[in-house]
Symmetry: C2
Subunit: 142 residues, 2 copies
């Protein structure tokens, strides 16, 4: 599946430091989701992990991920992204996590004694809800 | 894997009408996550869906799901749940969605013209972050 170009309203939501979750797949296929910082980087999504995170291995094993980004102004509006991790790279000078930390907290990442790893996600499909106008009703109801 | 008993601090977080996401698996294994209302029901998690949701079929095909529940007071604190959908049942009188709607909005679910379906999730594993004390640092950093 070729990556998609993000529509402007989705791009606007993704540009903000919103709460988000990312799901990776364990080797047996069990999904595991956690909260995550993310940053829109062109048409890709940039995330960063502690080098010890098990989901780094999981993403290397199966690159398919899901993200849900909730509008900080009200999670009635949110966007679901299906994608693949297309690049994983060490972050030796912490430039990657600092970029994310500045976006979310306005300053560099506090913890400097742990190795960090960057990952970039290509988006294959999106579904917008609430003010993104692609579904009726209070979508968080399910 | 037998279902687990939820620790008190996780139970306290889950008892609140917090923002949450749920991930289901498409037949090809691609994870898809969306925002969801949920309700703690004993040691199970109760969710409810519009009868037309594709993920109902996905859950029937593969019951494995992931949930992440974010503390409304600050998503630095959140809990990740791995589990399985163990029961799916029609909600003909909308009692299920009304129960969730009252929990989140204080009133019955507004939309009455669509069929709804209840599902219950048994929890196999949990990971707590932030104030739940099982991880150091700003966990949403990744």
């Amino acid at each position: 599946m070729p990556p998609i170009t993000l529509p402007d309203d989705v791009r606007a939501l993704l540009a903000k430091p919103n709460p988000a979750t990312i799901t990776a797949l364990k080797p047996d296929g069990q999904p595991v989701s956690v909260a995550t910082w993310y940053l829109l980087d062109g048409d890709r999504i940039h995330v960063n992990m502690d080098e010890g995170r098990a989901r780094l291995d999981w993403m290397r094993n199966d690159p398919r991920v899901a993200l849900t980004v909730l509008d900080q102004a009200g999670w009635y509006t949110h966007v679901s992204l299906q994608g693949r991790v297309v690049e994983i790279a060490d972050d030796p000078d912490l430039a990657g996590i600092d970029r994310l930390a500045r976006h979310y907290t306005g300053r560099e990442y506090r913890r400097r004694d742990r190795g960090r790893v960057d990952a970039w996600i290509e988006v294959d499909a999106i579904h917008g809800w609430g003010d993104l106008g692609r579904a009726a009703g209070r979508s968080a109801a399910g």
